[in-house]
């Protein structure tokens, strides 16, 4: 793909083809990926690929149309613009449709982020294979009770994107990311427990295969002997990975799209106390340590820190250009895309809770007994962002007198999202940025219902 056209130039060319009375935006992306999967000490698969594509948005007479293509060939790109233009004729007019204009964000200075590591592109495939084999081997070797590794591997991606619009907005971005991971299976007689471990970073030498392996093994082994406890109300301590998943659900309920369409429990609650006073929830894509860091959003608007909840009080929502205008405010630089195949939605890139002062051990010791939730299942089906109902499957361990005690399985933890926010007892100091965007930390929720046997 060395002869591929410059992305920014291509995007500007499409935007420049706008007709009078028309707004045109092109989003052009190119990514390179490697994936290695290993099993039983052998390379199961090694995939290498490049993907490129374009998404074109046309707005005319307040109608919007969109088209995409998995190719950057000039004729295909031209056809995609024509198709988007044709599609625009079938939408209904909406006065709030429109692309961002440079004047919408002239006071926001884009964060000077450098999230591209050229070195990742130079790593030979053999080294990638080696680290995948290493993480599997180390998982097996970590504990005698690990009887297998369900899957282990390595993956990396280097993504370059450009946005250009007929209103004069242009931005380019590029980022690299790599990770290695392992799913350990621990066995004792008929029982099998699984545990996940990973290591992620922007450059190859950020990865720690040994840490990923020992985490996977430890998380599987410590669940051995799990039983179903009796149903009770009790304090619940969420693992950082679980906290991150919970924050992601809150983040989507705080997105302008969900709020405008009344699909959020936060509708009309701005200025209200929605969480415990110690809770500050912020999306800050300008933080260089966040794996989701980005200087511009998917509409080419500079990102900035956005306080969603501060001191327990609901401060605002995330917006892209459309939801910002329609709700009488403005974009917060929070447009996100799932790729070139969709129009920009709204979402967080680096969502986190302002950390507290206690480490995980101190949180365990802060209550006489609690359920430590290592992982949850059915999070999306079990959470209703509209009603706030929350009921998910969980596995983990009981915590007594500050230490892990017996493991539990096949339990459900239930509450409502509203209640959980108000019941936040402690927010751990152990803030960890995770792949997929946000951060997690140990979180104490003072009470939830645990249903078991």
């Amino acid at each position: 793909m060395s002869d591929a056209p410059d992305l920014s130039e291509l995007a500007r060319r499409v935007a420049g083809a706008a007709r009078s009375g028309e707004e045109v935006e092109a989003y052009v992306v190119r990514s390179r990926e490697t994936e290695v999967r290993v099993f039983d000490g052998e390379v199961e698969s090694l995939s290498m690929a490049g993907v490129e594509g374009v998404g074109v948005r046309v707005i005319s007479d307040h109608r919007q149309g969109f088209a995409w293509a998995g190719s950057l060939e000039p004729t295909v790109v031209d056809e995609t613009l024509d198709e988007a233009r044709d599609n625009a004729a079938f939408g209904e007019p909406d006065e709030w449709y429109g692309l961002p204009a440079p004047a919408d964000f002239d006071t926001v200075i884009p964060a000077p982020l450098d999230v591209w590591r050229e070195s990742l592109l130079a790593v030979p495939p053999d080294d990638k294979v080696d680290i995948a084999l290493e993480v599997e081997r180390a998982t097996r070797g970590a504990d005698a009770r690990v009887r297998g590794v369900e899957s282990a591997g390595y993956g990396d991606t280097a993504v370059e994107a450009a946005v250009a619009s007929s209103l004069g907005v242009t931005s380019t971005s590029r980022r690299t990311m790599c990770s290695c991971s392992s799913f350990a299976m621990a066995g004792d007689g008929d029982e099998t427990q699984t545990g996940y471990g990973f290591s992620a970073g922007r450059a190859f030498n950020d990865l720690d295969a040994a840490d990923a392996a020992s985490t996977a093994a430890e998380r599987a082994v410590r669940l051995l002997g799990a039983t179903k406890p009796r149903t009770q109300r009790l304090p619940v301590i969420l693992d950082p990975l679980v906290t991150r998943s919970l924050l992601a659900i809150l983040g989507s309920a705080l997105g302008g799209e969900a709020v405008l369409k009344s699909r959020s429990m936060f509708v009309g609650r701005e200025g209200e106390q929605v969480a415990a006073p110690g809770v500050t929830l912020r999306d800050d894509p300008t933080r260089p340590d966040a794996l989701g860091a980005a200087s511009h959003d998917s509409e080419g608007v500079p990102t900035r820190p956005v306080d969603l909840i501060a001191g327990g009080v609901l401060r605002g929502y995330l917006h892209n250009t459309y939801t910002g205008r329609r709700s009488g405010s403005a974009t917060t630089g929070s447009a996100v895309r799932g790729g070139y195949k969709s129009t920009p939605g709204v979402g967080a890139r680096a969502l986190f809770l302002e950390p507290g002062s206690l480490g995980p051990d101190e949180i365990y010791a802060s209550v006489p007994s609690a359920l430590y939730v290592q992982s949850v299942s059915g999070l999306h089906s079990g959470t209703n962002p509209v009603s706030g109902d929350f009921s998910v499957g969980a596995e983990g361990l009981m915590v007594r007198d500050g230490f892990f005690a017996e493991p539990v399985r096949e339990v459900t933890i239930a509450s409502t999202l509203q209640r959980i926010l108000l019941d936040v007892g402690e927010i751990g100091a152990d803030l960890t940025w995770l792949p997929g965007g946000g951060a997690g930390m140990t979180l104490l929720v003072t009470q939830m219902t645990m249903s078991g046997a």
Partner: protein, 463 residues
């Protein structure tokens, strides 16, 4: 899609440096969708992608590369990359001369999506929106979408296979939000078939909307679900996804081989109640998971997995079948040409029994009647699963009484199979997207009305 001689040369190039097997998978996909939200048609989206994925297998290792460039040089470059990834060792396998092995499609597609005017696709949205809102003032929002896709695939491999298929799918979604002083609730209904626009000969958009709206309205009256172990009656179609997730995945040969299945080594054993016969049938006409050939060129088949409670077979893809020296079962699938195939389900269902559905409820003194399940998750290594119920009722004294609020069903796949104690004589299916290792493929799941003697309900009612 690609000239036969080009395919032949590409396969030779892929095996030039050695290897046991090489394959070219080419795909040309078009999709269009339209969405109405908040009373307005938001936009029409359309897209196209084409490309080829090439894999080379050597021993346990698969090298894979894909390209959007379907010219001979583009294919050659991908073949070289795939070959390099599977390199090492010596000796090249011969490429057997290509021979067409097309399979007749399971049914005819009558109205191709691209032949339908965009305006007609938009019209069905508005009809559904009106119908949903007419169900009551409490219906505050309706989100309606239409999506179609046409996927033409070609598979050619070094065993000499050459086959093509043309897969057309159309789906229609209506999600509603109902609001009352008891809170907000949502309803969802989303029929889909492996057909073109004739979907709407069978599926009335207004009726879909009314079903979705009634579901949301019903849930407004729902009280908190009980917690604990109870008998659960699954309405026809509603529980198929549970058997797909909690049992089907454990019967996929790749997971079995990795010892990540509770069903490993249990062939010939009684793993379920004698009332249970579970099949996976890619030939099931018009269903969401139907096709003529899988993404490795093998014909779709009707595979019996569990017969009268006895485990009879697993599902197979090319790699696992080659290893075991047996026939493929037509279950090798991939999301797009950018993905490697693996063992996947098609249309997975429990066969009907003899009980009257009403009678099953009548003979349940106290329990849960589940009319719709949302998504779920299963750990295939342990069989443990969790599913959200999106429409459920209490059964009291053999009668369906009040609706209960969203709650989880928690259990274990093999245990649930053993606890099926009544199977109805009706049948229903449910279309969905099955995710595995990051790849989504269309599947359907089905079952008659049946009862599981005990499942854990994770409700929010007091202890």
């Amino acid at each position: 899609m690609i000239d036969e001689s080009v395919l032949d040369r590409t396969l030779h190039a892929a095996l030039r440096g050695g290897g046991d097997f090489a394959e070219v998978f080419a795909e040309d996909r078009r999709a269009s969708s339209a969405r109405l939200d908040d009373g307005k048609v938001e936009e029409l989206t359309s897209g196209r992608e084409r490309g080829a994925g090439i894999r080379v297998v050597r021993g346990e290792t698969t090298g894979f590369a894909h390209t959007a460039d379907m010219s001979e040089s583009g294919l050659r470059e991908a073949a070289d990359a795939a070959a390099a990834a599977a390199r090492g060792g010596e000796g090249a396998t011969n490429v057997v001369g290509l021979e067409r092995r097309d399979v007749a499609p399971p049914h005819e597609v009558r109205v191709l999506p691209e032949s339908v005017e965009k305006a007609r696709k938009v019209q069905v949205l508005a009809r559904a929106d009106d119908a949903a809102r007419a169900e009551g003032d409490a219906i505050r929002q309706a989100s309606v979408s239409y999506a179609d896709s046409r996927r033409r695939i070609l598979v050619a491999n070094s065993d000499g296979l050459l086959a093509e298929d043309d897969q057309v799918r159309t789906r229609f979604f209506v999600q509603t939000v109902a609001v009352a002083d008891t809170g907000m609730q949502t309803g969802m209904e989303a029929p889909g078939l492996t057909v073109g626009f004739e979907l709407f000969d069978d599926v009335d958009p207004e009726e879909v909307a009314r079903t979705s709206a009634r579901r949301a309205l019903t849930m407004l009256r729902a009280r908190p679900a009980p917690t604990g172990k109870l008998p659960v009656v699954l309405k026809k179609g509603a529980g198929g996804v549970l058997f797909h997730e909690a049992c089907g995945h454990g019967l996929e040969a790749d997971l079995v081989a990795k010892d990540a299945s509770v069903f490993r080594g249990r062939s010939g054993e009684q793993v379920a109640s004698p009332l249970v016969t579970l099949v996976d049938d890619g030939t099931l006409t018009r269903e969401w998971g139907a096709y003529a050939i899988d993404d490795e060129g093998a014909p779709a088949r009707n595979n019996v997995l569990i017969q009268d409670g006895v485990l009879t077979d697993y599902m197979w893809d090319l790699i696992r079948a080659r290893k075991e020296g047996r026939q493929q079962s037509g279950n090798g699938r991939r999301e797009t040409y950018q993905h490697l195939p693996m063992v996947r389900m098609t249309n997975t269902y429990l066969l009907s029994g003899t009980d009257e559905p009403d009678e099953i409820v009548r003979q349940t003194p106290y329990g849960i009647y589940c009319a719709q399940l949302g998504g779920g998750q299963v750990n295939t290594a342990t069989g443990d699963f969790v599913f959200g119920m999106t429409e459920a009722y209490l059964i009291e004294n053999g009668e369906i009484t009040e609706p209960v609020r969203a709650a989880n069903l928690i259990g274990n796949g093999p245990e649930t199979l053993r606890r099926v104690d009544a199977v109805g004589n009706d049948f229903g299916t449910w279309p969905g997207t099955c995710g595995k290792f990051g790849q989504g493929v269309p599947v359907s799941a089905g079952q008659p009305t049946l009862r599981v003697s005990e499942l854990t309900i994770g409700g929010t009612a007091g202890e």
